[in-house]
């Protein structure tokens, strides 16, 4: 009941989807089956958490998809199968993620470019730059150690699930901290926040940095899980934004919780799983996904009419 209040209607949708999956595939109820689901969902959930910080502060981050691609392509080329290179490259990837987030944040806040445009430009720059560097197609190979995070288990639990738990816990803790409250206040009313002593630009920039970090982690997991390709991050920015919005977080900022955003990502992943299970695979999956996204957001909008009427 308490979860329902803090997370909103998304948990009901998620529960229904999970029940439907379980009905079609009882293996899903066993630990191994459920953990496999979590493992598959981990990158998107982490991306959604990162995107949440940006959205709740009133901005967008469209660059995360291409950033994930950059992570994987850079990792493959620099590691090129050399186990010893794993850790330095991992550190480099995290640094790239932080740096790109910092650039997005500084351009958006200091130069006052709408973040939609900043991160759209960053998307072009990143995908152009990485393939300029590799000559048009991914090259090289990941190391075994690198793949461990996305693919292997620690005892019975996949590494990615552990990373997911840590990242999710950190995100929730962060939103409960003073930083989190300042971030939401800045997204709600930038001017009031700034006149209350909040360093709005710095706070927002940090949100972009967190999104970049989330993209770096998601890229590392996806590289191990899905392998190296030029398409690995394609469309992930839209999936992450969709997940956040599914969780009831308002585009425009100031409203919604990070836990609900992550629940939105789980819901999206459960939807993919369900569509596969029921044989609506491949092409039509997108169509069904589109319908459900619109329907879910519309349902949320209809149920919460306060935003419109309170305005008069």
């Amino acid at each position: 009941m308490r979860a329902l209040r803090t997370l909103g209607p998304i948990v009901v949708v998620l529960a229904v989807l999970l029940a439907l999956i379980a009905a079609a595939n009882p293996f899903f109820l066993e630990p191994a089956g459920f953990l496999a689901f979590l493992k598959r969902a981990a990158p998107l959930v982490i991306l959604a958490a990162g995107q949440y910080f940006v959205i709740v502060s009133g901005e967008f981050d469209l660059s995360v998809g291409s950033l994930v691609t950059v992570q994987v392509v850079v990792a493959a080329r620099l590691i090129d199968g050399d186990e010893a290179a794993t850790w330095p490259v991992l550190a480099l990837l995290v640094a790239i993620g932080l740096l790109i987030g910092l650039a997005n944040g500084v351009i958006t806040t200091a130069l006052r470019v709408p973040s939609f445009i900043t991160t759209l430009g960053m998307m072009l720059v990143l995908s152009g730059a990485v393939f300029l560097w590799t000559g048009g197609a991914p090259r090289g190979a990941l190391s075994e150690a690198f793949r461990t995070f996305g693919r292997k288990d620690l005892g019975p639990v996949p590494w990615s699930v552990l990373i997911l738990l840590a990242a999710g816990g950190a995100a929730i803790a962060l939103m409960r901290s003073d930083f989190g409250r300042r971030l939401v206040a800045a997204g709600d009313n930038e001017r009031a926040a700034s006149l209350s002593g909040v360093r709005v630009n710095r706070t927002r920039t940090l949100a972009f940095v967190l999104s970049g970090l989330a993209a770096a982690v998601a890229g590392i997991l996806l590289g191990g899980f899905a392998g190296v390709s030029a398409q690995v991050g394609q469309g992930l920015e839209f999936q992450a934004i969709t997940a956040v919005v599914l969780g009831g977080v308002a585009l425009g900022g100031g409203r919604g919780s990070v836990a609900a955003a992550m629940a939105g990502a789980f819901t999206l992943e459960a939807l993919f799983t369900l569509l596969n299970l029921y044989g609506i695979s491949g092409a039509l999956e997108f169509a069904v996904q589109g319908v459900i996204i619109i329907a879910a957001v519309a349902a949320g909008a209809v149920r919460l009419p306060l935003r419109r009427t309170a305005h008069v």
């Binding site: 939401v184 709600d188 009313n189 006149l195 209350s196 100031g254 309170a310």
Partner: protein, 498 residues
């Protein structure tokens, strides 16, 4: 009677906000509607303007029964409403705003020249020569935008114009101009429904006044038949007697001192603010009052001169040095409306650590309110007399007075030595106003240095231990406790130089 309302009743979500209100307005009459916040004034006006439909009761315009389902139906019937926050598009021209939604067309295309000519003619009729129909609205002052709203109403052939607190954002000479405008509307036979918290305007302008209280009609009377004290009694149901808390016992040490302070707007500011005093700052709109507050608070910093304890270059420096600002515009600058009372109250404490003081607890706020944790916030909310003191509520659901108390709570978490109030009681009802005045005096008595800017001279004079007057970005002079309104106005308008 051009407007006749009988037995108007309205409920929202089962809460009855209007109980069978009657209202008659004659052509060419200026009819004031007064009452505390929550008395039902806005709801009644919105029913007239077609924003809400009444649950019960009848409404006639020129003897013809009407019922509106949309503001546009009311407009077509000759009712126009001018809200406190103007309904104008800053990026469009005056004429485009005036004819928005009713653009004249010729052969299917918008007839721009007819639109501009009609707008120009109405502007001329109102005696407005400072801008033309093609000026973009974003370049106009608040007073000029108000004229645009009136022109818009006239272009709709409005016979009833509802004005919701029209002077809230005006001051001094602009108010005079508005008076003249209202007089012209009256000459044209237009009925003006005038909502105001400022009783003086009611008596200056209105022919009759209707008092609402708790959604019911208390009385309608000619303004010659009641006096201000009686009106306040009718509104609040009690005699407030003395409007203001007694003055303090005298100022203490200097808390804040400026010498030769200046920036793009201000020049040559010399000012001392002492512990325990309330310093009133008077001046016309645009005289630099708000800019002075923002300079002291580091939001639009001084670029010249000295200031002790320090000349803040940013809001954060000012806050760290113990200076707070209760802004003029609560909703735009004071509060994050969709956040809880608690998150708003703790925002400053969570953003700035004051040197030499205990860091606030994770949940709470030490300082004057005392304690930390959940009890700290609740205690704080009780200290500012928030009704009800629920930390979990979103502030957008609170009344104006309660919202202002949350802003006050926000500053008390960091226990500033100096607190600046810019129009602290704007849009606040009479009851909450008195509470805020009490709180301010209480803070001063506890040793805080307080500066108060107010366009309402009775408030300014009643509350202040000392009054300084701003003019053209400078301090035009200082007046002793309890100056006459006339003395303040003379100084503000530059008729006398001390």
């Amino acid at each position: 009677m051009i407007l006749r309302m009988r037995g108007i009743a309205k409920s929202f979500l089962g809460v009855r906000v209007l109980h069978g209100v009657d209202l008659d307005v004659a052509p060419g009459e200026v009819h004031a509607v007064v009452g505390e916040n929550g008395a039902g004034k806005s709801t009644l006006m919105k029913i007239i303007a077609g924003v809400h439909a009444p649950d019960e009761g009848t409404m006639e315009i020129d003897g013809v029964p009407v019922s509106f389902g949309h503001p546009v139906q009311a407009q077509r019937a000759g009712v126009a409403i001018i809200y406190q926050e103007f309904n104008l598009l800053p990026e469009r021209s005056v004429a485009e705003n005036v004819f928005l939604g009713r653009e004249p067309v010729r052969r299917g295309l918008v007839d721009r020249s007819a639109m501009e000519a009609a707008t120009a003619r109405l502007l001329a009729e109102l005696g407005e020569t400072s801008f033309g129909p093609r000026a973009p609205v974003r370049r106009l002052s608040v007073a000029q935008q108000q004229v645009v709203e009136i022109v818009k109403a006239l272009s709709q052939d409005a016979r009833i114009i509802v004005m919701d607190e029209p002077t809230a954002a005006l001051a001094g000479h602009e108010v005079e101009l508005l008076y003249a405008l209202v007089a012209r509307l009256r000459e044209r036979g237009i009925a003006v429904l005038y909502i105001s918290h400022r009783l003086r305007e009611v008596f200056d302008l209105a022919d009759r006044v209707t008092v609402l209280k708790d959604g019911a009609l208390v009385r309608t009377a000619g303004t010659g038949d009641v006096d201000p004290g009686e009106l306040v009694r009718l509104m609040v149901g009690r005699d407030l007697g003395t409007y203001f808390p007694p003055r303090g016992t005298g100022p203490g040490q200097v808390r804040l001192s400026v010498r030769g302070g200046g920036n793009a707007v201000l020049d040559g500011i010399d000012l001392d603010l002492r512990a325990g005093e309330i310093l009133g700052v008077a001046g016309l709109q645009g005289s630099g009052r708000t800019e002075l507050a923002k300079a002291l608070f580091g939001a639009e910093p001084f670029t010249r001169g000295t200031m002790s304890p320090l000349r803040p270059a940013s809001v954060r420096q000012a806050v760290a040095a113990g200076i707070g600002l209760v802004t003029e515009d609560r909703k735009a600058e004071g509060l994050a409306l969709r956040q809880s009372v608690r998150d708003n109250a703790l925002l400053v404490a969570r953003s700035v650590r004051r040197r030499g003081r205990d860091a606030p607890g994770r949940d709470g706020a030490p300082g004057r309110a005392g304690g930390s944790g959940r009890d700290g916030v609740t205690g704080l909310l009780e200290a500012v007399r928030l009704q009800p003191p629920e930390p979990g509520r979103e502030v957008r659901f609170l009344s104006g007075g309660n919202q202002q108390k949350v802003v006050l709570a926000k500053w008390m978490t960091v226990a500033p030595e100096t607190l600046i109030f810019d129009e602290p009681t704007r849009g606040v009802d009479v009851g909450a106003k008195a509470a805020i005045h009490d709180l301010m005096r209480g803070l001063a008595n506890d040793g805080m240095a307080i500066m108060m800017i107010s366009s309402e001279l009775p408030e300014l004079i009643g509350m202040s231990d000392r009054v300084v007057v701003m003019r053209d970005g400078r301090l035009a002079g200082e007046l002793p406790p309890g100056p006459s309104e006339e003395a303040v106005m003379r100084l503000a308008a530059g008729e006398a130089t001390p």
